[in-house]
């Protein structure tokens, strides 16, 4: 796992923990669902998560880039943010 991916996972974990959506000892798998199934974010929460990533990593992510496929699993979301960090 790259340094960026580890940082993204840390941010994701802190976002979910602040919302009581994740116990401390839960392992986030690459295949864990993010939007709807799995963790079960709704669309507004997903956008709040993007906002947290933008703030943490100094990114700007355009509206047109917010395809559903990036939010399907923890893995796809990490890759999406990672691509913006590079």
């Amino acid at each position: 796992m790259s340094v960026a991916a580890a940082d993204i996972l840390t941010q994701l974990r802190s976002f979910l923990a602040a919302r009581h959506q994740l116990e401390d000892d839960v392992v986030l798998e690459e295949s864990t669902g993010l939007l709807g199934r799995g963790i079960g974010l709704d669309s507004v929460e997903a956008l709040q998560l993007v906002g947290q990533m933008e703030e943490a990593f100094g990114l700007t992510i355009g509206d047109e880039e917010l395809d559903a496929m990036h939010f399907q699993t923890v893995g796809s979301f990490v890759r999406f943010i990672e691509a913006h960090i590079r």
Binding site: R19, S43, V44, A46, L47, D63, D67
Partner: protein
């Protein structure tokens, strides 16, 4: 109350059919009702709708019996002002009358019903706060057109958030499964009329892209008014206890209000008589202060459902959710 994993919208089904029997049923209904909507005076619509509905109930006793059994199961012993047969007929009559309104809008002069507003001060107070208002519109027959018309007459500029795919008949007895034909023609029949009364329509895209959320968040941060019909279209839904079963509702409206600081106002429509409606703005629902964001949203969902139930029991013929209710404990 529990999360349910259902598709965001039936519209996300990749293999959308070209045409369905429901489309055919809608075309037949429109063919029958369109001439009536143009030629029959408003004051007789109630008579026409009830007469047609009674005839259908009489001619299809097997379906009528099943519908009444369904209503009885939904109510689970709760008293209502009507008999089950009368309720069944009135639900159908409302279905027809709403279509008469929409089709009448295509006639020069349009539909000119009498609409009163109650509790509008709650909306004004919300806008004075400067953080926008989310109107959580009840899933009642007449709710779509009547609320938009009332708001437009009052000079309010409302943006409506809707599913990309919606039927001509969201209150039909069967859930409408989108078809290419339905999306191209039937949905357009309804939305073209509704769009006359709103500032803008934001559609949740079929591919699930989330850019629209930022658009509506910007609207609310600019003190805009966003209307959303309470329903199951959304990325996250909860199975909410209501009457003797449950109803699937998306968390979008409370979640949006929570995220933006907008006021969340439940809005209900009551039919007071032929061509006479009341639009009720309930006081803003405030999230619990000590709850985390997700718990606050779930609390708001529960309070909304209890409010909805109280309206349903008082105006049972208005509700379009009778045939969408589920009975998880008793399903086999």
């Amino acid at each position: 109350m529990h999360d349910v994993a259902i598709p965001r919208s039936a519209a996300t089904t990749p293999e959308m059919r070209e045409f369905s029997s429901n489309d055919l049923y809608e075309i037949i209904a429109i063919s029958v009702l369109a001439p009536a909507s143009w030629l029959v005076p408003h004051r007789l619509w109630d008579f026409v709708s009830v007469a047609l509905s009674s005839a259908i109930a009489f001619l299809r006793p097997d379906i009528t019996r099943r519908r009444m059994q369904r209503l009885e199961r939904c109510l689970d012993g709760r008293p209502i002002p009507d008999s089950l047969l009368s309720l069944r007929v009135r639900i159908m009559a409302g279905y027809m009358e709403e279509r008469l309104q929409i089709l009448r809008e295509y006639r020069p002069g349009g539909w000119r019903g009498h609409i009163e507003m109650t509790g509008r001060e709650h909306l004004e107070r919300a806008l004075e706060r400067g953080r926008g208002a989310v109107l959580w519109v009840c899933p009642f027959t007449y709710g779509d057109l009547v609320v938009k018309t009332a708001m437009a007459r009052a000079g309010d500029r409302v943006t409506h958030l809707s599913a990309d795919a919606r039927g001509f008949s969201p209150n039909a007895c069967h859930p409408w499964v989108p078809t290419r034909f339905g999306l191209r023609y039937l949905s357009r029949l309804r939305t073209a009329i509704e769009d006359r009364y709103i500032e803008d329509r934001v559609a949740m895209p079929r591919d699930g892209a989330l850019g629209y959320v930022r658009r509506v968040e910007r609207l609310l941060r600019n003190n805009g008014i966003l209307s959303i019909r309470a329903g199951r279209n959304g990325h996250r839904t909860l199975e909410m206890p209501i009457l003797g079963g449950t109803l699937t509702l998306a968390t979008g409206p409370p979640s949006l209000a929570q995220a933006t600081g907008a006021e969340l106002l439940p809005v209900f429509v009551i039919r007071r008589g032929p061509g006479h409606f009341e639009v009720v703005f309930e006081p803003a629902m405030k999230p619990a202060e000590d709850a985390d964001p997700r718990a606050a949203v779930e609390d708001l969902m529960g309070r909304y459902t209890r409010l909805l139930e109280s309206y349903v029991l008082r105006f049972p013929y208005m509700w379009s959710g009778w045939y969408q209710m589920r009975f998880p404990d008793r399903e086999t």
